[in-house]
Subunit: 486 residues, 2 copies
Amino acid sequence: MLPAAHLDPESHTPLYRQLYAHVRDCIDSGLLRAGDRLPPTRDLAGQLGLNRTTISAAWALLESEGLIRGHVGRGSFVTRGARAEGLAWSALLPEQEPRPAVAPARISFAASRPSELLFPTDAFRDSCEEVIRSEEARVILQLGSPAGYRPLREFLLERGREEGIVGDNDDVLVTSGIQQAFDLLQRVLISNGETVVTEDPVYAGLTSVLRRAGANLVGVPTGDDGIDLQALERVAAREKPRLMVITSNFQNPTGATLNMEARERVLGIVRACGAVLVENDSYGDLVYEGAKLPTIRQLDDHGDTVLLRSFSKLAFPGLRTGWVIGPRLLLARLTEAKQVSDLHTDQLSQAVLLRFAASGRLAEHREHVLRECGRRLRAAITACEEFLPRDCSFTRPRGGMNLWIRLPQPLDAGELLARAEREGVNYVPGRVFAVSRSHAGALRLSFAQLTPEEIRAGIEILGRIFGTELQRVRRIERLEPAQALV
Amino acid sequence: MLPAAHLDPESHTPLYRQLYAHVRDCIDSGLLRAGDRLPPTRDLAGQLGLNRTTISAAWALLESEGLIRGHVGRGSFVTRGARAEGLAWSALLPEQEPRPAVAPARISFAASRPSELLFPTDAFRDSCEEVIRSEEARVILQLGSPAGYRPLREFLLERGREEGIVGDNDDVLVTSGIQQAFDLLQRVLISNGETVVTEDPVYAGLTSVLRRAGANLVGVPTGDDGIDLQALERVAAREKPRLMVITSNFQNPTGATLNMEARERVLGIVRACGAVLVENDSYGDLVYEGAKLPTIRQLDDHGDTVLLRSFSKLAFPGLRTGWVIGPRLLLARLTEAKQVSDLHTDQLSQAVLLRFAASGRLAEHREHVLRECGRRLRAAITACEEFLPRDCSFTRPRGGMNLWIRLPQPLDAGELLARAEREGVNYVPGRVFAVSRSHAGALRLSFAQLTPEEIRAGIEILGRIFGTELQRVRRIERLEPAQALV
């Protein structure tokens, strides 16, 4: 693809400069076009009788001028064409990680979010109208504070004090959902390959943030009772992590909850290793059976634990409002990072959600959600017991939005998804939540969006697919005699 | 502060390990406390008769275990105390850059934002009520798409096609204001010290994003007619920047606008150097006099220019909604970065602003704003001509929200701010907008928030302060005879 180069070893101009000028001229004249790939240095060195380092030096110079761009494992590409051509965006942009896509389905277990049918739209309308008719409307429409809309912050601090999670040295920051809280924590605390310990499996939105930041991610096995405490202790002592992110209630994707003793032990482990503990409490409100346990932050006398919460799992995830509670010093930095990111969170939604909560409508709606989602959870567990093959195991949470199903060996939940989709059912394969292990044999079943009837029908279909596949592979295993060792 | 160490040079344990163990024991026992500073390596090396590299090795080991943390220029600090103590946040967090703070004032020229008094609150209420009463309400309240609320995106694309700024290969992404657009562009295009060329002076929200990302920031002088094109051409050829950020209309802080010829030349310069051009068009709607010029994106046949826009300067900056128009390939990456940052922009505000724009209310409001802000601009220019000392110079924009005033040597606008604040007036000193030059003698006057009467009164006060100070320093200059050269 590169037109032949005629280089002169006798010239005063070094060979790498001659090669550089040749390629640059080819680009300027249009002989090489944006997006063209240059020959591998090894091949070209052979052809031209040059040392590979000469080629590399020429390429480095071309790259420094923005004419070409190297991609590890793919070679170097021309980034712009002759002066008359536009930019070669595909060569200019970093490589894209493939995103797992789950196709829409008639019965979708794929989204961990509330059902639209449960949205209290009248209560929302009333809250919204009260806000826009109030004297505060002009304030809300004007540029606000990076820390959040003041009346909402005061409300959250006051509630936090009552609950025993806000002390004198603490503060609150309103974020555009918990996803942004993760992002801001990364910006302030993780910059240079620091180690972060998370549950494994864990919410992919968390690992995306941390991987992009180049964090050294260490996943600790997480099962029916939450994170494995012995493993956590070992990892903490060995890795001395900067950050530990733990979900105490109804973890996504497993649905697992830490009991009181486990909460205390996590706190002890964190103190011993000096890490910053982030407690992700997205699902803490959604307790359908039994008592609500105190958060780890509530147990933490030092007030070092950073607590993340949101309105999104109870109501209105389309209104992006979450918040962070933690030590004032940290919160000041997070607030700065927030200002650089997007100035501040949308104020109309902050004001409407404040009205919704302060008026008592949120508490009323919560009762309704707990009743309805409790029925959905029971339908899901009953259907799993009834329809899943006996060798499957699954978590039995008492709240939240998710069950975690482990298929027997050698079934692969990712491969079986296509079959489920053909029958109008979907879910998210375990691989999507992987940190240090693959979870190929597991899947997340998000039940909160579906009616009990849909849940039952969907799990019946999944049970049949998994059962049929299991019979098929077992038959093959029986038919194939074990190979003799020779 | 470090208790005396008794190290044994005869031991099998290397000296750095002995020193490490000593410090660790001091921390565990509480002799050293969280936040304590360790002695400088040079001093300690002298005291203990050790090589400085021995001390450094011990410190490195302590740091790898998260027990201490080094801060360039400040030394190393203990990050956690004895097991019973909490985290030492001040030692754990990165150093804080001091943020310039402008105190509130009776007549504030400090914020480049619209006046609350001009907000069309009735039109906003009507738009909001139409949205929350529509069938779409449930969709808006549910989790949405990272690219933005579909009806708003379609509206923006359609308007963009009519204006000739959206072609077949283009797309749009809704962001939480233009600030977030800057942040996402940085995340996708700047990761490793790439060079970015901006106007100098320029909006501090842009330089914050780029500095935090470690970009190599090069500012090009920007005066009454916008960016200096000769300087831009030289810098582009020399630096081969990755990114160039240009404001074509009513630049913040100078208020300067590029004429047609300059827009064409910017495009030529960008093409010649292969940079990505980002056109920040925050103020493009606010033309009070004369014709509206086409954006650079409109002149760009290749469609490579990335255009940033927002509703915030016309109405409702508290509703954080902006958008990016550009090539589909780039937009796909920006959309991914958006999802990792905060999932998506608030949908209630997106829907309300769409309704506000599509109903014709925005166009009606724009007429009102142009009339009112035009009066404000004229009041500002007239007052500057009347009250500023003759040696001051200032820009004379035909739109936007800002004037840029240059005081005569040796006046410092930052120092004089305190005096203005005592008289109830404020502004933002030029230093805040500095890229490669200091702009100590300049200041930004944002007039859009104030009535013509307030503008006149405020500039009269400033003119008096600047004039008095100028007389004072000139008198001193006259009194002090030039020193003889010896």
